[in-house]
C-alpha cells in the first residue's frame, strides 16, 4: 500500500476543495532571481494535502503551477529542462492539431493572454466567499509586487453557479457536474464504487498512485517518466488548463428544437447527450426519468458499467460521460481505460442565465476545466484526441463528443440508440452546432512542496 506524504503534495492535486469561488492568476516571470524569491515565499503558503479536521476547513487555499516556459524563466538547468516530456515543453498551443483545437477553436481566437508564451505561472486561489477570495488574491498580488518575481497578466475568475443564493454544482447548460474523480491508492478516503478501476470480479478498486502523482508505480507497474532530478518530479503532477466558452443560447435552442422531434422529449434528449439527466442522474441507471435520491447517494451515483448496454440503449455509446470514461464498454473488464483516466478540477465562469431567461452565446460564460495526471500525452491528450474528437474506439466513425466536440460538416451527428419502445425510439441528432469553444489554455506542472523549495533556493541539480 502506497503511503503518501500529504504535507509534500499540493492540496489541489489530492482533492477538489469544494470551495465555490476561485481566481486563477496567470502571470509572467520577469527575472529568475526575483521569480525564485516569489516561489520561495509562495511555498510557505501553499495549501497542502494535509487533512482538515472537522470544522477546520480553510477559508481560502493557494496553489501554484508552472508552464515549461516558466521553468525556463526561473533558470532551471538545461539538463532538467530537456528531461520534461515533449508535450509539456511545447505547451497546449503548439499541440493544437492533436487536440482538435482548430477551426473555431484555433489558438488564434484564444484570449490575448494565451497568444504568446508569457503565461509562466498559475496561481490558484479558491475561497469560501467573495470577501475571502478578494483578501487572499490581494495578498498574493502583493507578494508578486514585493518580490518583483512575476507580473500579473490576467485574472480568470470562476465561481460555482449560485441559485437562490446558494452555490450549486451546476454548469451553464444546466447539468449537475463534477460527479466523481478517479480513486487512487494513498488517498485517505473511502473507496467510492464506480470511481476507481474494475477488478476481474466486477468490484471497484483504487487505481495505482502513479497514474496521478509522479514517483509511484502506475497501472503498468512502472514509475511514470519523471524529470531530473527525481526530487523535482516526485509528488508533483501535470495539469491541462482549458478555458472553455459555452454557447448557452445555441445549446438551449438546439435542445428545444430537437426535443420536439425526439420521442423522449427535451430533458431526455439532454440526458442522451450527456449520459446524465440534467439533475445528475446517470441515464445508464435510470433511463426513463431523473431520480433525485440516486443523485444524492454516493454509493450509487457513479456506480455503474456499460457491459450490459453494449447497444447504448440506456446511455448512448457516444454520450459525453461514456466517452470520457468508457468503464467496461471496450471489454477486458475495463482494463483498456485504466491508463486513460484524468482527474478533473473545474469551475464555471461568467454569469449564469436561469432557464426561464433569454441566454446569449456571446456573453462571457463557460467553464475553467483542468485535467490532472502523470502524463498529459497518455491521459488528457489521448482522451481529447481519441474520445472527444473521434469515435473509432466506440465504433462511431468520425462522430465526436456531442457536447464538447468541435463540430463541422461531416462529423456533426450524435446517435441516440434506442429500442422498439416508442418512448425510447432511436434518434439521430443531426447538424450539431458547436456548443463549446476554446478560449485558451496551457500545460502546467504542479510541483511538490520539496520541489517548490528546490526551485525557490535555486538548488535544482540534475547531476
Amino acid at each position: 500500500m502506497v503511503k503518501l506524504n500529504p504535507f509534500d503534495i499540493q492540496g489541489f492535486v489530492a482533492r477538489g476543495y469544494n470551495l465555490p469561488k476561485a481566481n486563477f492568476l496567470l502571470a509572467e516571470i520577469l527575472d529568475a532571481d526575483a521569480g525564485r524569491h516569489l516561489v520561495q515565499r509562495v511555498a510557505g503558503q501553499v495549501t497542502t494535502a494535509e487533512r482538515w479536521e472537522q470544522g477546520k476547513k480553510p477559508l481560502s487555499t493557494l496553489n501554484i503551477a508552472f508552464t515549461w516556459q516558466g521553468f525556463v524563466k526561473l533558470g532551471l538547468p538545461d539538463a532538467t529542462l530537456i528531461s520534461f516530456p515533449v508535450e509539456f515543453c511545447q505547451g497546449m498551443r503548439l499541440r493544437n492539431r492533436i487536440l482538435g483545437d482548430v477551426g473555431k477553436n484555433d489558438p488564434k481566437y484564444w484570449d490575448p493572454v494565451w497568444q504568446d508564451d508569457k503565461v509562466h505561472v498559475w496561481l490558484a486561489i479558491n475561497a469560501i466567499n467573495p470577501d475571502e477570495l478578494a483578501k487572499r488574491t490581494a495578498e498574493v498580488c502583493r507578494l508578486m509586487e514585493e518580490t518583483g518575481g512575476a507580473r500579473l497578466l490576467a485574472t480568470q475568475s470562476a465561481s460555482s453557479v449560485y441559485i437562490d443564493g446558494k452555490p450549486t454544482p451546476k454548469e451553464h447548460f444546466g447539468f449537475t457536474d463534477g460527479f466523481g474523480n478517479p480513486d487512487f491508492e494513498g488517498v485517505e478516503r473511502d473507496t467510492i464504487p464506480g470511481q476507481g478501476k474494475l477488478t476481474p470480479d466486477g468490484k471497484w478498486a483504487p487505481l495505482a498512485t502513479g497514474e496521478f502523482i509522479l514517483g509511484y508505480p502506475d497501472e503498468s507497474q512502472e514509475l511514470p517518466a519523471c524529470p531530473v532530478p527525481y526530487l523535482l518530479g516526485i509528488n508533483g503532477t501535470y495539469m491541462a488548463y482549458r478555458k472553455i466558452h459555452q454557447n448557452v443560447a445555441t445549446f438551449r435552442k438546439y435542445l428545444e428544437e430537437k426535443g420536439k422531434e425526439y420521442a423522449g422529449g427535451k430533458e431526455k434528449l439532454a440526458a442522451k447527450l450527456a449520459g446524465r439527466w440534467r439533475d445528475g442522474t446517470p441515464v445508464e441507471l435510470s433511463p426513463d426519468q431523473p431520480d433525485p435520491a440516486l443523485v444524492k447517494d454516493q454509493q450509487r451515483n457513479t456506480n455503474f458499467t456499460y457491459g450490459n448496454d453494449a447497444g447504448g440503449v440506456r446511455c448512448p455509446v457516444g454520450g459525453h460521460i461514456r466517452r470520457m470514461n468508457p468503464r467496461d464498454a471496450f471489454g477486458f473488464n475495463g482494463a483498456l481505460v485504466n491508463r486513460r483516466r484524468i482527474m478533473r478540477r473545474g469551475l464555471p465562469y461568467g454569469e449564469y442565465t436561469p432557464e426561464d431567461q433569454p441566454a446569449r452565446d456571446e456573453d462571457d460564460h463557460g467553464i475553467v476545466f483542468m485535467a490532472l495526471g502523470a502524463s498529459l500525452f497518455r491521459q488528457f491528450e489521448f482522451v481529447q484526441q481519441q474520445w472527444v474528437e473521434y469515435g473509432n474506439d466506440a465504433h462511431l466513425g468520425n462522430d465526436k463528443d456531442p457536447l464538447v466536440g468541435r463540430h463541422d460538416e461531416g462529423s456533426n451527428k450524435h446517435i441516440v440508440q434506442g429500442t422498439a419502445d416508442p418512448a425510447n425510439a432511436p434518434f439521430i441528432c443531426r447538424n450539431l452546432p458547436q456548443f463549446v469553444e476554446m478560449r485558451g489554455g496551457g500545460y502546467f506542472f504542479l510541483p511538490s512542496l520539496t520541489a517548490l523549495r528546490l526551485i525557490g533556493d535555486g538548488s535544482v541539480d540534475p547531476r
Binding site: G397, N398, G410, S411, K413, I415, F427, I428
Partner: protein, 210 residues
Amino acid sequence: MPNQSGNMYGLTILSPIIDDQTIRISHDSALRIYLKKLPRHEDGPFAKVSATHLCRLVVMDDVVFVGAPAKQEHLNSKYLVFSSNFYGDLDAYLADMAAKIPDVVNDIWSHCVGYPGVRDPKAFATYMKKCQIETTFFFAAVNDRTVEQTLRALQNKVEFAAFVEENQGKPAAELQAAFSTFWQRLEQLPPPRAGARELTRASVSEKASW
C-alpha cells in the same frame, strides 16, 4: 497458416538490394528516392492491385543491437521489405501485381538481386516466393472482407446514416417511399475508389477511418 488469418493474407517479402559500390547513387538510395516519389492514396499504384487492403515498402539498411556488451552484428545485405495485407490467395495476388502495375514493380525490384522481371509471371512469382518469409502473428486492421466489400460497407454506413438523419420521424408511407428511392440510388452507386481518403456524399462527407 502463419501467413493467413481467415481470408486475409499477411505477406512479408525481403528482397536483397544489389550492392554495387561503383555507382554514384547506390541502389538502396535510388530505391528510397523512387519510393518517396510514388503517388499515394487513390493514385498510389497498389490501389490498382485491388485485393490490397494495406501495404508498405521499406528499405532496411541493417539491424542494430542496442545493449551491453555492444555487438557488431550486421545483415548480409540491405533489404527491400514489402509487406501487404490483402484478401485471398498469394498466387492470384502476385499475378495481379505483374498484370496491373508491371512498370512500378520493375522500377522497384530491378534494384534487387536476382529479380527476373514481370514479363514471365511465373518466374516473378517464383522469385517473390523465394524472398518470402513467414509472417507468423499478424494483425489485419480490417474485417475478413474484400476491399470492395469494405468500401461498400463504409459507403452504405455513411449513406444510411445520412438517410436516417434526413428522414427520421416521417409518416410510415412517406418513409417507405423515401427508403425505396434511397435503396435504388444506393444500389446504382459505384463503389468508392480504393485508397480514397474520404467517402463523400452530396450533403455528408465522412473521412474514412484508416
